[in-house]
Symmetry: C2
Subunit: 231 residues, 2 copies
């Protein structure tokens, strides 16, 4: 009878508040242990176990045992992207109160999305890479140009290592705050990591990213906004 994939199965997984908190927590990109996730969601370890089992069963999380710890992470970028677009819909459909939270503006300015930079700064990065022809769009997918290769290597990214891995180097990722793309994929991750190493940015534990004064200045210098871009 039903020939289309079962939406409800995954929907139900996302529909529980506790599980949603866990997934949100994992949007940082780091893997977390069962207990950490239990705390994050505000439930006991037993409850967390059942939820995490369901999420892993459902293909949303992958897990890795390490000694007596069990680390959970989002199963793929697709999952992360799905969560982002859910947030997007949720944000646009929700009454305004949520938008007025004090931390919200900072979230919109810069945040971490599955280990790469998102928010206004993420968009700036993406637009600037395109404008400087470090990235080129081929069939809608961003690709690193020869000029871009030289740049990222010069910026301190171990490009060879990235290319050895199987995961795609560049991927676009849709933002929920602005409705624009920013750079995901292993290069997106590597660049963000580099920003942290350079101490341009720091995290406050949540998804919010704060630029240091020096970081902000150098970031804007190396990744200027293209002339014609709005706001």
């Amino acid at each position: 009878m039903e020939s289309s994939p079962n939406i409800a199965r995954i929907g139900a997984l996302l529909g529980d508040n506790t599980r949603a908190k866990m997934l949100s927590a994992l949007m940082h990109g780091k893997a977390l242990t069962a207990t950490e996730l239990a705390n994050e969601a505000g439930v006991t370890a037993q409850t967390a176990t059942t939820h995490l089992a369901k999420l892993a069963d459902g293909g949303l999380l992958i897990l890795q045992k390490q000694g007596r710890h069990k680390y959970f992470a989002l199963a793929s970028e697709e999952v992360a992207q799905l969560l982002e677009s859910l947030m997007g819909l949720s944000a646009s459909a929700e009454p305004l109160r949520v938008h007025t939270g004090p931390r919200d503006p900072h979230m919109r300015a810069a945040r971490v999305c599955y280990n790469h930079l998102a928010g206004d700064k993420g968009i700036q990065l993406y637009d600037s890479l395109l404008a400087q022809r470090y990235l080129r769009l081929v069939d809608g997918a961003p690709q690193l140009s020869k000029k871009g290769r030289e740049f990222v290597v010069g910026f301190g990214v171990d490009l060879d290592a990235l290319q050895r891995s199987r995961s795609p180097l560049c991927k676009p990722c849709l933002d929920w705050s602005a409705r624009r793309s920013h750079l995901a994929g292993s290069l997106g991750r590597a660049l963000y990591t580099r920003f942290e190493v350079l101490r341009w940015v720091s995290r406050d534990g949540g998804r919010t990213v704060t630029f240091s004064r020096k970081g902000e200045r150098e970031f804007n210098q190396i990744f200027p906004l293209p002339a014609g871009s709005a706001r």
Copy 2:
């Protein structure tokens, strides 16, 4: 405490089987009445009413009263896209049995996604439009070129009417069967409608689209696959 948008609220909406069926039914792109949706989901009218109210409240559906009928449709392309990506995740995470249904291959070949063409044929259309320079990618978004304008008008699309409407002309939409983009937006809709008018394609009531012999031939002639494209 929580400053990120509430995923669970929307997740819960998607998590019920009855509601999922209704939403899937609306992926055709047409607006349906409450009773039609009730039948589609296999529940009574009362039950349907409550579900539809929730979906509309949650911002996933919009409704329009027309006499004693009440028509429901997906609220936006974002919603349709979210559903598509849910199906994608679901399909990849699910045990294989679902992939083996008899109608499934046809669904992959050509189907309707929110009133535009999706599946292999949808991708062929998109790639061909790009290859023939009717479409151009600007910042990842497809745009109609001057050559493209002439073509679609010649093909029988009332371009002026489309441009008067506020909704975007061209949008990419990600496929769940192949993981590629195809053409959405009002132009995508208009082209598909034109295919129906020309009797190139017909629907079997579901999302599956069948090409007539003549339709297939002419479609392939006007929208040939670019030389280098795989399979």
